[in-house]
Amino acid sequence: MWRFIIGRLLQAIPVIFIVITATFFLVRAAPGGPFDAEKAVIPEVKAALERQYRLDLPIHEQYIAYLVDLSQGDLGPSFKYPGRTINELIESGLPATAELGAYALLIAVIIGSLAGIAAALRPNTLQDYIPMSMAMIGICMPTFLLGPILVLIFGIHLDWLPVSGWGDIPGDKLMPSITLGAAYAAYVARLSRAGMLEVLSQDYIRTARAKGLPEWQVVLKHGLRGGMLPVVAFLGPAFAGLLAGSFVVETIFQIPGLGRFYVQAAFNRDYTMILGTTVFLSTLIVLFNLLSDIVAAWLNPRLRAQLSE
């Protein structure tokens, strides 16, 4: 197992290195610089700013300097927020995004798998069609639409929940989590339905029935683990993908998260922030892919045996 984990982590090093290198040069190739503003910046001021951010150096020296800093865990100063470091900004945004993502996935997994299991138990009946149609809509309902609709209904007309904020007013975390989780719930529903259908047709389910177990025990004890495997495989990459996806939700609900940094950095040509978030994101992708493989192995003893070889 450890061999496998270490092997995968070693593979990740060139991946992250290439991502950093490509991003470093891509952002500098993009038109518009971090100091371009509607009001023209005086050339001397611009030169002073570029000096402060080492942008006056030849690009390869900038690159090497960045790598040296990075190897010491220093992601550099922010362009957009002078006086703050990228490390500090990521630290400040991470908790909210992580929490939001965790709630969203929790909601996605609970609602999605319930719907998927319900559908798989009675395929091609209303109990299947209704949740699956909802899932179809859920997958395609963009968050920029779902968020405002929820706010209108529950925030304004019913006045049940606060329309924005994060940890300011009780209940203000609910709507953002649902908004972000909806699409994932829909995917989970489809995956768990397919997974459960597959598992429920297996011979060992018949064995369980032949033991005289009631249907719910058959489904929960014997079906669930196998049926949820595709969901686990999906969740790893999905959680890493949340960072980019949470931008819209964070904006709608005024959540102080990392997603806003990630997207706005690109708009602002905030070089260090783009790189910082990208390094962070690629690390997350690697880690969560690995994590989902480990969880899959934990769920599936056969896989576990393969990995421990």
Binding site: T207, R209, A210, L299, P301, A305, E309
Partner: protein, 528 residues
């Protein structure tokens, strides 16, 4: 004393594709303390009949149209689902064919074993585990303390089937239904499991229904035999009576299908076509090296059929695949007609592949499910430019004639065929390139006995017609001696014994060969 009395049971299937009667008004009785065997080919309705008793058939598409099945004074067919559940796993337990798929791969065998006990008898987990360990010992699993927390994949097929049996017996059922419990196992393991079932049945004095397609399997253990064909019971009676005086032609056919003759070698002029020298094929699993084939040398002469016999894991399939260059070998030489196959470049290898072909064990997996018969058979013909696009259809039809497939099936897909027909398609594909050498890897072990006989005959016929040289890989000595001129016995990647079929059968030299021979089912009864 009658344990189960089934009267006029009829089970229908209603699907989009029509209405079929799977079980047609059958009646039979199972007595306490006896083994009742139900024999029939796939599709005869033998399993459906038993599953319907326990409510294990999905309804729809199945529907029980009529009948009664009285078990201990209650009609199983009229019980509610919850009442049936009380009986399932408690009074009536089941063992299924494939222990590979019938145990939950995600749970330890301990957890699976104690489940029926805890559910039906409400005993504590500790005492259930204690009972489970006792039973594991009883079914022949040593050191249950260590193995009870293992997962199914950590056991061999035979061990898994023992676990299944323990699981079925843990609630001391009055009736045990065993559905082809040995079909997926090697002959040696089959013999052990058969003995175990018979022993346990005697010791506990319970009723057993033993479902099989093979009369030979039940020959030694069955008290009663029921023969089913196409949903009907065609014959039933005392085991001795069936074996000695079967009246129905179908039963006679089943008896005749049991391979029992030995091929007499007629080859005069040995000229080696295939030469294997010091072949080693190892598999590296990361931490350990498995020596699947360990220094094996043999020749196969032109026109000869060589049987390669051994248990699972003996390396017999690996040898076949190594010769065909489907697996990378570790060292050694393989030559076809003097040409060293291990030293060919990709292009020459592609040309050479035309001369050697393979027939696989599982006709379900070896045919591309999304290719029709036409596509499957035309592919090699077109690939090796044996036929042009214009003439290929005719060639395909001719090939179908040769392997005994009706021409009308040309656009059908593999799933629409029975196992035997599928294997005919696979044989047709192998023959399409007019090869000189064929590796047949357990080509009949997944088939019913009657079909086995047909396919073996087909292979013998075609072999003669095409002048084929063949390596016939099997775990079943009875099959091999029917078809092979010479037999190689393999054990743990090494050759144990070689000889013509006749000599090997009549005067086996090695102990291992002897034990293989001893495990041929029904040997005693059929010999007498």
């Amino acid at each position: 004393m009658n344990l189960l009395e089934v009267r006029d049971l009829q089970v229908d299937f209603n699907t989009r594709n029509g209405h079929t009667i799977a079980v047609n008004k059958i009646s039979f009785t199972v007595k306490k303390g006896e083994i009742t065997a139900i024999i029939g080919e796939s599709g005869s309705g033998k399993s459906v009949a038993c599953y319907s008793l326990l409510g294990l058939l999905p309804q729809p598409p199945a529907s029980i149209e009529s009948g009664t099945a009285v078990f201990e004074g209650r009609d199983l067919l009229t019980l509610s689902e919850s009442e049936l559940r009380q009986i399932r796993g408690r009074d009536i337990a089941m063992i299924f064919q494939d222990p590979m798929t019938c145990l939950n791969p995600f749970m330890t065998i301990g957890d699976q074993l104690i489940e029926p006990l805890m559910f039906h008898k409400k005993v504590s987990k500790a005492s259930a585990l204690a009972r489970a360990k006792e039973l594991l010992v009883e079914v022949g699993i040593r050191d249950p303390e260590a193995t009870i927390n293992n997962y199914p994949h950590e056991f061999s097929g035979g061990m898994r089937q023992r676990v299944m049996i323990a699981m079925a017996l843990i609630n001391e059922p009055k009736l045990l239904i065993a559905d082809e419990p040995t079909t997926a196992l090697d002959v040696t393991i089959q013999a052990q499991i058969l003995k175990l079932v018979a022993d346990l049945q005697k010791k506990r004095d319970i009723g057993v229904i033993f479902i099989s397609h093979d009369l030979a399997v039940v020959a030694d253990i069955a008290d009663q035999i029921i023969v089913m064909e196409k949903g009907f019971v065609v014959e039933q009676g005392d085991s001795n009576a069936i074996f000695t005086a079967a009246s129905h032609p179908y039963t006679q056919k089943l008896l005749a299908a049991i391979p029992s003759d030995t091929k007499v070698t007629t080859l005069n002029d040995p000229e080696p076509l295939i030469q294997v020298k010091n072949l080693k094929t190892y598999f590296n699993t990361g931490t350990t090296v498995v020596k699947a084939v360990d220094d094996v040398s043999f020749d196969i002469n032109r026109g000869e059929i060589v049987g390669l016999v051994g248990e699972s894991g003996s390396g017999k399939s690996t040898i076949g695949r190594s010769i065909l260059r489907l697996l990378p070998i570790t060292s050694g030489h393989i030559s076809l007609d003097g040409q060293d196959l291990t030293k060919l470049d990709t292009n020459t290898l592609k040309q050479t592949r035309r001369r050697m072909q393979m027939i696989f064990q599982d006709p379900y997996a070896s045919l591309n499910p999304r290719m029709s018969v036409y596509d499957t058979l035309a592919e090699p013909l077109l690939l090796h430019k044996i036929e042009t696009r214009k003439t290929v259809e005719h060639a395909v039809l001719r090939l179908m004639d040769e392997v005994g497939l009706a021409r009308a099936f040309i656009r059908k897909y593999p799933h629409e065929f029975s196992g035997g027909q599928r294997q005919r398609i696979a044989i047709g594909r192998a023959l399409a390139t007019k090869p000189e050498f064929i590796v047949a890897d357990e080509p009949v072990s997944a088939l019913d006995v009657t079909i086995q006989a047909q396919i073996l005959d087909l292979m013998l016929d075609l072999g003669k017609q095409y002048g084929l040289t063949m390596l016939f890989v099997s775990h079943d000595l009875a099959v091999v001696r029917h078809i092979a001129d010479r037999i190689i016995v393999l054990y743990h990647g090494k050759i144990v014994e070689t000889g013509t079929s006749e000599t090997l059968f009549n005067t086996p030299q090695e102990a291992y060969t002897k034990s293989l021979l001893a495990s041929i089912p029904g040997r005693n009864r059929l010999a007498s």
